[in-house]
Amino acid sequence: MLRVTRTPIVPTALLRAMRDPAAGAVVTFLGTTRNENAGRRVVRLEYEAFSRMAEREMRALAATATKRWTLRKVAMVHRIGIVPVGEASVAIAVSAGHRAEAFAACHWLIDRLKEIVPIWKREHFRGGQVWIGPQQGIPEASVGRAAARRTSACGGRRRHAPRRGDR
């Protein structure tokens, strides 16, 4: 189970996929929409994916992790579209012979997923919206000046993303 989906994530489905008589440990991770970010009141997150490539990258990550930690089963599901506060946008489950491998692999998988799987997040907060990059938000409609603004968006603790036409 390695996929991008528009429907809510069902954690029990991932758990079912972990069943394996040789497994002694199952570790799961859920990433959920938090109600605040960088001092902003977050009302929902919105995800966009290059779905076919994302699933391809997920398969590659699962294969690498399975080899490295001798896993039994791996599942990764990422939801796209609107994800309300409190709901899961990403779920990872791994099963292994022992817990140390399962914990390590699960941690590695979520970190790598965030780095390389082509899925983007737009934060909708009270008063605006902003695309979120690895380090900082890229203000909507001003992507061309994102580099110049990065300092102020981060260091200046700007409360609202600049609007179109805002300099």
Binding site: I116, I119, V143
Partner: protein, 79 residues
């Protein structure tokens, strides 16, 4: 050569989701990107990654006729 283009996230909002373009034989992903930036100088400051036919590539990657080039900002992050 005809190249298909795809843009995502903030870049999609600026460029549209899909496009098509002719490039000279021997062109690389980097040459293609520089041509786009020449037309839209505001793109110069955008951090981007490239994928050709759904695989990450470096700007030095040489294009082939019919390739699908995806251009997008760094992925979503979180910690």
């Amino acid at each position: 050569m005809r190249i298909r283009l795809r843009f995502f996230a903030a870049l999609r909002e600026q460029m549209g989701a899909r496009g098509e373009r002719s490039v000279k034989s021997g062109a690389t992903v980097g040459t293609l990107w520089r041509a786009l930036v020449a037309e839209r100088p505001e793109l110069a400051a955008v951090p981007v990654r490239f994928a050709v036919n759904e695989t990450y590539v470096a700007p030095s990657h040489r294009l082939a006729d019919g390739d699908e080039v995806a251009i997008f900002p760094p992925v979503s992050g979180g910690r």
